[in-house]
């Protein structure tokens, strides 16, 4: 059962023998000891005690710097059960393993290396030995091999040759020896070129390099470097480095490495963590952390990316793509139709939540603005009325503008994704996202009602009426496209152009508003009550003023101003926004309930853990670090060289020196973080 391990220990060159783990040596020692009543056996394997002594004398000199350190699953499993089960229900072979591990630690020149084991044995060694002595010995450590199969590169090379068209759910044809095992597998050495190793329903531990291909359901730990293919379905991948031509995919977990060099692809369904530098290659994960520097490469994230510094490399630019989602398509995954539909629905509902949160932020902002306007009027009186009315109208215009831009961006994003899906697969396009986004534009009719209320106040120049007409025209285009099922690139370009026009309008409105507000502030001078109550929100200040006004005698100026049509209008708008916020919050709760159901179905029907991505955090996708000049940050890789790409979809950094900067995706634009948060 441990034939390959025994053969390896007997034949390994000294430096490889010194580098093996205590688990292997404890197995060898326990295995040899289990045959001690067999004189013939003892004679045949007489060299094993010598090997154990060599390991004891030299293993402390070996210090392998790697992330792929968790190479002792058997010892860990037995130890976990010994600690958690009371009394421990370990069988004789497991107790033998523990006893021999303890003996090795006692004799080891550097016992501090085995801290967890040492602490355990300090407490439990008497109980373990007593339990063991009360059981019949079992030759050959029967039972342990069920948990872990130990093999060598020769075992893999001698496996049956097969031709495969898919590997671990990826379209990856190949031909060569395929070693398939149900359970955990440990390789005492490397995985050779052109070979495939599959650990079904288990983890794979590799003591050396991976040159060939490895697939595991759970985790994969590689002590040396990956130059071939490693794919795990549910667990994590940890190794020293990933090199040129490495293709590393953890479909739903983490990938943790020291360094990377021009990797073919590194994908992590949850988090990619590189402890030193990343030098070139392609990477995709919702979240990427590089503790060192980035020198070239293409990085796609949907939550965040962080590095100490981003630099370009000779012949290799650094491109960071801030995306709405990272999907199995990024690694060429073949996800089954049920999972694809469920993942699509989860993404859609998350985008809905994102849109709802944005609308809550807008509505809260508007409430504060209306409160400010009311406070300014009550403080400054009729002298400010005309100016304030102009401000309110422009604020409403700006608010409408922001909503239109947001709705247009949502629609264009949804249309882009639908077009991309139908290019990839004519039958796969799902127009649910487009319908959801179109519904956002339709909800603008509610905004129009509020705008009508405000335009009744004063719209002599017809500006608001003009905006209302434009929004109606956008709605008309969308309705016609949907009715004729003609969601096409022409519509996309039309909507993008309109979005750009509204962006320009927004910019001008902001400038104009700033000028008007400065004028009002000048008139108010030191009498602005807000500056006297700087720690309170505008709404609280307004509430206090209204309360104070209510106690004033009839005819009092402040009391009269609270009854003015202007203040009443502001209060109505504040109430309306509060009601709307409450409705949005109810919709978010409904979305959360739907997400919980979808997540349950995904785990039960498709056996896939629910992916975490944007929508679960407050911040849109962003990248943080110090930047050298020329780092490209974009919403889509193909916009970088496209002269027709929408404005601000690509940003090229300047030199930030040692200063840490953050750039964020705001809808379909890349902006510095502060600007991005302000624009929403």
């Amino acid at each position: 059962m441990f034939d390959s391990l025994i053969k390896f220990v007997r034949e390994a060159p000294p430096e490889e023998l010194a580098a093996i783990e205590i688990e292997e040596m404890a197995l060898v020692s326990a295995w040899y000891d289990s045959h001690r009543d067999n004189a013939e056996f003892v004679a045949e394997y007489a060299d094993l005690p010598e090997k154990i002594e060599y390991w004891l004398a030299h293993s402390s000199q070996v210090d392998v710097q790697t992330e792929g350190r968790r190479l002792q699953p058997l010892l860990r499993e037995v130890l976990d059960r010994a600690v958690s089960e009371r009394p421990p229900k370990l069988h004789r072979s497991e107790l033998d393993l523990l006893v021999h591990a303890h003996n090795l630690i006692k004799r080891h020149p550097d016992p501090g290396r085995f801290e967890r084991l040492a602490i355990f044995f300090e407490r439990e060694h008497s109980a373990i030995e007593a339990a063991r002595d009360g059981m019949e010995p079992v030759a050959g450590l029967a039972g342990l091999a069920d948990f872990l199969r130990i093999i060598t590169p020769e075992d893999i090379l001698q496996a049956q040759k097969r031709s495969v068209s898919n590997f671990a759910g990826l379209k990856m044809p190949g031909r060569g020896p395929v070693f398939h095992h149900k359970g955990n597998v440990k390789v005492m050495g490397y995985v050779p070129d052109d070979c495939m190793l599959v650990a079904e329903d288990g983890s794979c531990l590799v003591h050396g390099f991976v040159f060939g291909r490895v697939a595991a359901t759970n985790d994969c730990e590689v002590r040396d470097n990956i130059a071939g293919v490693v794919v795990v379905s549910l667990g994590d991948i940890r190794a020293r480095n990933a090199l040129t031509t490495a293709f590393v995919v953890s479909k739903w977990g983490q990938v943790v490495l020291r360094r990377t060099e021009r990797v073919k692809l590194l994908f992590a369904g949850r988090l990619l963590h590189i402890k030193e530098d990343a030098d070139g290659g392609r990477y995709a994960s919702p979240e990427i952390v590089v503790d060192g520097h980035v020198h070239g490469g293409e990085f796609s994230v949907s939550r965040s990316m962080k590095a100490e510094r981003f630099e370009t490399a000779p012949g290799s630019e650094t491109v960071i793509v801030l995306r709405r989602s990272i999907t199995p398509e990024d690694y060429g995954g073949l996800v089954d139709p049920i999972a694809t539909r469920l993942l699509g629905s989860i993404r859609r509902v998350r985008h809905q939540k994102e849109a709802l949160r944005e609308r809550i932020r807008l509505a809260e902002n508007e409430r504060r603005q209306f409160a400010t306007n009311a406070i300014q009027f009550m403080t400054g009186g009729d002298a400010l009325l005309q100016g304030l009315q102009a401000i309110v109208k422009q604020e409403q215009q700006l608010s409408l503008c922001i909503r239109v831009i947001s709705a247009l961006d949502s629609v264009t994003l949804a249309i882009e994704e639908q077009i991309s899906a139908s290019i990839a697969d004519m039958n796969a396009a799902d127009d649910e996202e487009v319908r959801d986004a179109a519904a956002l534009v339709r909800e603008l009719t509610r905004e129009l009602e509020d705008a009508a209320d405000l335009s009744a106040m004063d719209d002599a120049d017809g500006v608001l009426a003009g905006d209302i007409e434009e929004v109606a025209a956008i709605l008309g285009d969308l309705n016609r496209a949907e009715a004729s099922r003609n969601i096409s690139t022409d519509l996309l370009l039309n909507l993008r152009n309109r979005s750009d026009e509204w962006q320009q309008k927004r910019g001008k409105l902001i400038e104009s508003l700033e000028r008007k507000m400065v004028a009002i502030e000048k008139l108010l001078g030191t009498s602005d009550v807000r500056t006297k109550n700087a720690k309170l929100s505008e709404l609280k200040v307004l509430a206090r003023i209204l309360q104070a006004a209510g106690k004033r005698p009839p005819g009092d100026v402040l009391a009269a101003r609270t009854q003015s049509s202007f203040v009443k209008l502001m209060l109505r708008q504040i109430e309306s926004r509060r009601d709307r916020i409450k409705q949005y919050q109810e919709k978010i709760e409904a979305a959360d309930a739907e997400l919980a159901k979808l997540g349950e179905r995904l785990e039960n029907e498709a056996k896939i853990p629910v992916p975490k991505e944007f929508g679960e955090t407050e911040e849109p996708p962003h990248v943080t670090g110090a930047f050298s000049p020329g780092i490209v940050i974009c919403t889509d890789r193909y916009f970088v060289e496209d002269t027709r790409a929408p404005e601000a979809t690509t940003l090229i950094t300047g030199d930030s020196g040692t200063e840490i900067r953050c750039y964020m995706r705001s809808q379909n634009r890349i902006l510095p973080r502060d600007e991005a948060l302000q624009s929403s």
Partner: protein, 225 residues
């Protein structure tokens, strides 16, 4: 010990695809040495011959072309007769045709003399095929980098893919095998490790790991010296 004084040159030799250029450049950066890319010199000479459409059988013309070549290395860029050819000299076409020049003793002598002049001007890391055996036999530290054939083919294929060339790994492997055979069997300065070279198998190692090993070797040599 030859009785001759060591020169401050680190000689890095090895077959095609062993990672010599990348490693040598990084070692030079780490140690603040100059970097001598002799492979680029042969590539430049080959590119010039292709550019001037010199037939490969015309030995005299090839020798004359190499002698006439104005070769310049600056800021990591390679210039031939005033033209920046840094990317052009790394194409598959140049790679395929280097063998027509690097087997001509007169060409090797011309470029070798240039290499010696450059290499002894200041502490230098020199990479090529015969640095430790012919050009700098008294180098203070000699390294021979090697890697398995499949590993070298994989690296070379990845390099070509980055240059947007269509790549067939099997073709690359055949090409590397052919280059190995040519390098090892030519009369003029065949590829082999100097007897006093440190051999490093780079199979599966990252560039940083190889660089670290060489730097430690150099520092060890300096301490012993």
């Amino acid at each position: 010990m030859t009785g001759r004084e060591s020169i401050p040159v680190i000689a890095i030799d090895g077959p095609a695809g062993a990672g010599k250029s990348t490693v040598a450049r990084r070692v030079a950066e780490r140690l603040n040495y100059a970097f001598l890319d002799t492979g680029a010199m042969y590539r430049a000479a080959t590119w010039r011959a292709l550019n001037h459409r010199i037939p490969w059988h015309d030995r005299d013309a090839l020798i004359a072309s190499t002698r006439a070549m104005a070769l310049e290395f600056k800021d990591g860029r390679v210039r031939v007769d005033g033209q920046d050819v840094t990317d052009e000299i790394r194409t598959a076409e140049v790679t395929r045709n280097i063998r027509h020049l690097d087997g001509i003793p007169e060409v090797r002598a011309q470029l070798g003399s240039l290499q010696r002049r450059i290499g002894t001007a200041r502490p230098t890391v020199a990479e090529g095929r015969d640095m430790g055996t012919v050009i700098f036999p008294d180098a203070v530290c000699k390294v021979y980098l090697d890697a398995g054939l499949e590993e070298r083919a994989r690296r070379r294929a990845a390099q070509l893919s980055e240059q947007n060339s269509q790549v067939d790994v099997k073709e690359v492997l055949t090409e590397i095998e052919a280059r190995d055979a040519n390098d090892q069997t030519r009369d003029a300065a065949p590829l082999r490790a100097a007897p006093d070279a440190h051999r490093i198998d780079t199979t599966g190692l990252s560039v940083e790991e190889v660089v670290e090993r060489i730097v430690q070797l150099v520092e060890g040599t300096q301490r012993a010296g």
